[in-house]
């Protein structure tokens, strides 16, 4: 079975939050447990930085040709209402792009993206969504519209996403509670929603810090007493931080004097001011409350080790990952008795009513003063956390996808003709030149699985104003061998139009020939460049050409028949070449002596990025 995973959840600003972590960890889990299934990844080319990152992260876990990048027609973020027609077009283009990969099932890791950025998320706008599964995190905005959907436009955007969600054949929820919530709120048949749960990152294990290291962490954050900790995972009224502060103020004086309340979360200035004002109104001293600001995982794990108790008072969660992270670190944890948290905590005596600060205070006081309960919670934390793993979640997802594929008819791609008709029918989509070029670029980037991988051979640079003869061939011994191969496509760098790109080189290589058309390189194509690069190559690198080809999945090979030459004869300023080597799939050396000299030259220049594998072979082998 071919499963195509849309990983945009790890591409937008969400990549720094729970959704991004979930997307990455679940994808890796699926790749580990895929068995006989083919896994393909789809990424959004508009979010280009993340494409580079994800390609590098997944290298070795999935063949590079199974990571495909779709294009979008310009700016499509929901926040700009004027981009709505382009967004509709982008949704159809993305659905067709994925369908052309001939998936048996599509897994969308995050549908609710694209308000502030150019992510595209839709189901069933052009291709039937019956064979599409979507990860369901929560429906909190739908159930709390007054807090989250306060403007009509925001509500309209959100409801379009909900309509897409309803068209998906299968929802994979991150908790049993989220499943029940979706069935009730969206009126879905129970068999269309499967709970696959979640897990924590492997870095969340009990920290083994020495006392002096722990003291250093405490000093860094101004923690001077024992600590009650809360890492709400963002600041939001439903996180009930003010309720927790009120509960803290209700604790017996001795407990308050021995414990500080540590809030580990990124907070905007206004949010900090609001919390400090609330603390003041409760009569808390400035030293009672510690606001750490953003923490990286290492600091977070250290603080979990330092905390006496982790308290998670949220009013509404889809899962409640911070509570599981704390438990995985062995920290005694108590949490709200609402929504998904009872299934995360798994112990009645660790729950409280978050709507009543006195209930929170009573539970904190009891845990801190009853040593047998405290020990039970500590033991329970590790036992409970061990029940959640990414492999188990990935297995559940795969089994659910397999069952769904058996029960649902396939949804093949539609014809390009259909797509163009649909694009023309998009209301208010302008037919101006810029829009048409953007749409055409998206269509040209569609995958063609039947197309063979092509070998492009870089012959140098076509200088501006000339009629086609590329410069840079002089002294390059190995490249002409490659050109002799019948399948090789001869190309040369050009900067016409102000954009560095490759053009087909003139067929006969004479100066009387016209420059050829722009070369359209695709994923799986290979581009061979000689190590003796020119100033044009450097300019093209600086302009982002090679990074762009890397993102697209074009494999770059560097042929070396000596140590690299420099355009100006100087040996400095070669850092760019080191970076280009980092993008390369391989260096083909014409002899063992050349390979050794090249490797020594690279070592002498201390290039920062990883070097590609060196291969000693005749370059013609690539053909």
């Amino acid at each position: 079975m071919r499963i195509v995973i849309d990983m945009q959840g790890a591409q937008t600003a969400s990549r720094y939050r729970g959704i991004g972590r979930y997307t990455t960890a679940l994808t890796r889990g699926i790749l580990r447990n895929a068995g006989r299934h083919d896994i393909w990844i789809v990424l959004n080319g508009a979010l280009e930085e993340s494409v580079t990152q994800i390609r590098a992260d997944l290298a070795g876990h999935i063949p590079h040709e199974r990571i495909r990048v779709f294009e979008t027609p310009g700016r499509i973020a929901e926040i700009d209402a004027r981009g709505a027609p382009r967004r509709r077009a982008a949704e159809m283009l993305r659905e067709q792009f994925i369908a052309l990969l001939a998936p048996d099932l599509v897994l969308v890791t995050s549908l609710f993206e694209g308000f502030h950025d150019d992510a595209v998320g839709s189901v069933g706008t052009f291709i039937d969504g019956a064979r599409t599964a979507v990860i369901l995190y929560d429906l909190i905005p739908l159930l709390n519209p007054a807090s989250y959907l306060d403007s009509p436009y925001l509500r309209q955007c959100y409801m379009r996403k909900i309509a897409s969600l309803q068209r998906a054949g299968l929802l994979l929820s991150i908790s049993d509670y989220a499943r029940e919530e979706a069935i009730a709120a969206l009126g879905l048949p129970p068999e269309r929603v499967v709970a696959i749960s979640t897990a924590v990152d492997e870095s969340f294990v009990p920290a083994a810090l020495e006392p002096d290291e722990l003291d250093a962490v405490r000093r860094r954050f101004g923690i001077t007493r024992r600590m009650l900790m809360c890492a709400p995972g963002g600041f939001d009224p439903r996180k009930n931080i003010q309720g927790l502060m009120t509960a803290y103020s209700l604790l017996p004086r001795a407990l308050r004097e021995s414990h500080q309340l540590v809030l580990a979360s990124h907070l905007a200035e206004a949010q900090q001011s609001a919390l400090l004002a609330h603390a003041g109104s409760l009569g808390l001293a400035a030293s009672d409350l510690v606001l750490t600001g953003y923490l990286d995982d290492a600091d977070l794990v250290a603080l979990y080790q330092a905390a006496d108790l982790f308290v998670f008072p949220s009013l509404h969660e889809g899962f409640g990952l911070p509570a599981l992270e704390a438990m995985a670190c062995g920290t005694p944890t108590i949490a709200s008795n609402t929504t998904s948290l009872p299934e995360v905590i798994g112990l009645d005596e660790a729950l409280f009513d978050p709507a009543h600060p006195q209930s929170i205070a009573d539970r904190i006081a009891r845990v801190l003063t009853d040593s047998s309960l405290y020990e039970r919670l500590r033991r329970h934390s590790r036992t409970q956390a061990a029940k959640f793993s990414w492999d188990a979640t990935a297995e559940r997802a795969l089994r659910a996808l397999e069952r769904h594929a058996v029960m649902t008819p396939a949804t093949p791609a539609r014809s390009t003709d259909d797509l163009m008709q649909a694009l023309v029918a998009v209301e208010d989509l302008p037919g101006d030149e810029q829009t048409l070029v953007q749409l055409a670029s998206c269509v040209a980037a569609f995958p063609d699985l039947a197309a063979p991988s092509r070998l492009f051979v870089d012959l140098g640079h076509i200088p501006p104003g000339t009629q086609g003869a590329p410069e840079g061939l002089g002294g390059i011994g190995a490249i002409p061998d490659l050109c002799a191969a019948q399948s090789a496509v001869r190309v040369a760098l050009s900067a016409s139009g102000g954009v560095w790109h490759y053009r087909h080189a003139p067929a006969n290589g004479t100066s009387s020939s016209q420059p050829g058309p722009v070369a359209d390189m695709r994923t799986c194509d290979r581009l061979v460049i000689h190590a003796g690069t020119t100033a044009a190559h450097r300019a093209a690198w600086t302009d982002g050409l090679y990074a762009s080809l890397y993102r697209l999945g074009v494999q770059l090979y560097i042929v070396a028949d000596g140590i690299p030459g420099t355009p100006d004869g100087a040996d400095n300023g070669l850092a760019w070449f080191g970076k280009m080597l980092g993008c390369a799939s391989g260096v083909i050396c014409t002899s063992q002596a050349v390979a050794e000299a090249f490797a020594a030259w690279c070592a002498a220049h201390e290039f920062e990025r990883r070097l590609p594998p060196f291969d000693v072979a005749a370059p013609a082998r690539l053909a």
Binding site: D80, G431, Q438, G497, V499
Partner: protein, 88 residues
């Protein structure tokens, strides 16, 4: 007439707006507003951003309709034909 009014408005209003924007109290007010309503900052940034030229999504392919790759050219011609038909 319209152009003259526009020019006069520009000459009078832009320096005035610049003067006003330099006032510390207004700066404090703006910072306070942005601190209290983070979404406002995002909206303003998006409004500023949408006037920027579109980023070159496919840097290896020129975005000039007279100089497209064969694949892009084929799709462009077909789209152009259909959009022209829609117009008529």
């Amino acid at each position: 007439m319209k152009a003259a009014l526009k020019r006069a408005g520009h000459v009078l209003l832009v320096p005035l707006a610049r003067q006003v924007a330099r006032r510390p109290r207004l700066k404090r007010l703006a910072r306070s507003l942005l601190g209290r309503i983070p979404a406002l900052g995002k909206r303003i940034n998006a409004m500023i951003g949408r006037t920027e030229p579109l980023p070159p999504r496919r840097m290896h392919v020129p975005q000039d309709s007279a100089d497209l790759s064969p694949l892009t050219r084929a799709a462009y011609d077909e789209l152009k034909r259909r959009f022209q038909a829609r117009k008529s």
